[in-house]
Symmetry: C2
Subunit: 195 residues, 2 copies
DNA sequence: GATTGAACTGAACGCTTGTTCAGATAGACA
DNA sequence: TGTCTATCTGAACAAGCGTTCAGTTCAATC
């Protein structure tokens, strides 16, 4: 049923999502009102309900789309055979993807508790899928004898926390270029797995 | 002007703080009402204002006390001369302290944006003080030739993010004891700094 | 020019919010 | 027994909340 030409709604819908994303990330889900979101798009609050079922769906859809595009972006990356190369790819991919979507990442970590239980379960599942990606790289590297880690599960969590931590201090105008940062972190991760 | 015997207020005050801590950590600052906090302590909302200036101060005091007790707890640790030993002490201390205060840590990361600017500046300053602790350990280890890191500042942030990440998955009843976890993370950190 | 329908407004719904305050209560001290 | 004071209640305040909906607007279609 997709129309060929973009209707007004096809343009306003994403604008609502964008405003919600920006405001949720800045002030938090609970602290942002539907009237604020509407105001940001130049609408009255009631009009938002043409584009979303309710406030909760606005948050859930944001997180769901973010996590799914994270997973599918990784799936689109060329898959190296060598675990060492694969790990470097992952490190650089993770930093790049997360730094480019600071608002989404922030919300993903902050607002999980504001999701209704069944919505929470969906997002949590997607996150676990992503963690499994790294865990299996580490496992492959260990089996090939190229990595040595004290505990695969813990090392997975440690590396992801370390990489995601970049978001807390990274600024576009900062001291280091993104490529330089990726290189340094890859250096650190390589030491972690003794590769 | 401290009284010798504990008055009622000396008991109720902390109970209010505890309830606020638990509720803020569970549902988020904005999502928790003064009436909920009061209910948790068995009071009406109005009575809370005998113990706090307003809701904002409740949050600010929580964070301020937490950060200051973090800094003073570290100051009370015996200070090893050897940078390697000092770094191990820091790693174990950080994990222990943070895991034992999961609620405070959670709030510290989540609710910074709900602080009024001047309050935010205070907490941010305390956090920077704590980061400096680790940064100077790394610097000392580099000067003594015992550590090698690609970038002192980034390594500081990477290690802190990695260690604090434990809080996202640690459960009292989990697979690994706290001491085992401390050991594994110290192992990982030692690799990071090539000690 | 008439009709349709998507897009939107503006008011209203019942409810909750943080905060204030006059008044009630009750334990401690004289 | 009477006074005092710390403690707390319960109602009130203005403001804001998410959500609904009857009615308006206006560009596209016939």
């Amino acid at each position: 049923m997709a129309r060929k030409t973009g209707s007004h709604a096809d343009i306003t819908g994403p604008r609502v999502q964008d405003a919600a994303l920006r405001l949720f990330s800045r002030h938090g889900y609970a602290a942002v009102s539907m009237r604020q979101i509407a105001g940001e798009v130049g609408l009255q609050a009631g009009a938002l309900y043409l584009y979303t079922k309710d406030k909760q769906s606005l948050l859930f859809e944001l997180l769901r789309v973010h996590m799914q595009s994270l997973l599918s972006a990784w799936a689109d990356e060329p898959a190296a055979d060598d675990p060492v190369q694969r790990l470097e790819d992952f490190v650089r991919f993770h930093i790049r993807f997360h730094v480019d979507r600071a608002d989404e990442v922030f919300i993903s970590y902050m607002e999980l508790r504001n999701l209704e239980p069944e919505n929470f379960a969906v997002i949590e599942g997607l996150r676990r899928d992503y963690e499994t990606v790294l865990e299996e790289i580490l496992r492959a590297g260990q089996e090939s004898g190229q990595f040595t880690v004290p505990d695969t599960k813990l090392s997975t969590m440690a590396i992801i926390a370390m990489l995601t931590g970049v978001n807390t201090w990274y600024r576009e105008s900062g001291r280091l270029s993104r490529d330089r940062i990726e290189r340094i972190y890859w250096n650190l991760v390589r030491r972690l797995v003794k590769a």
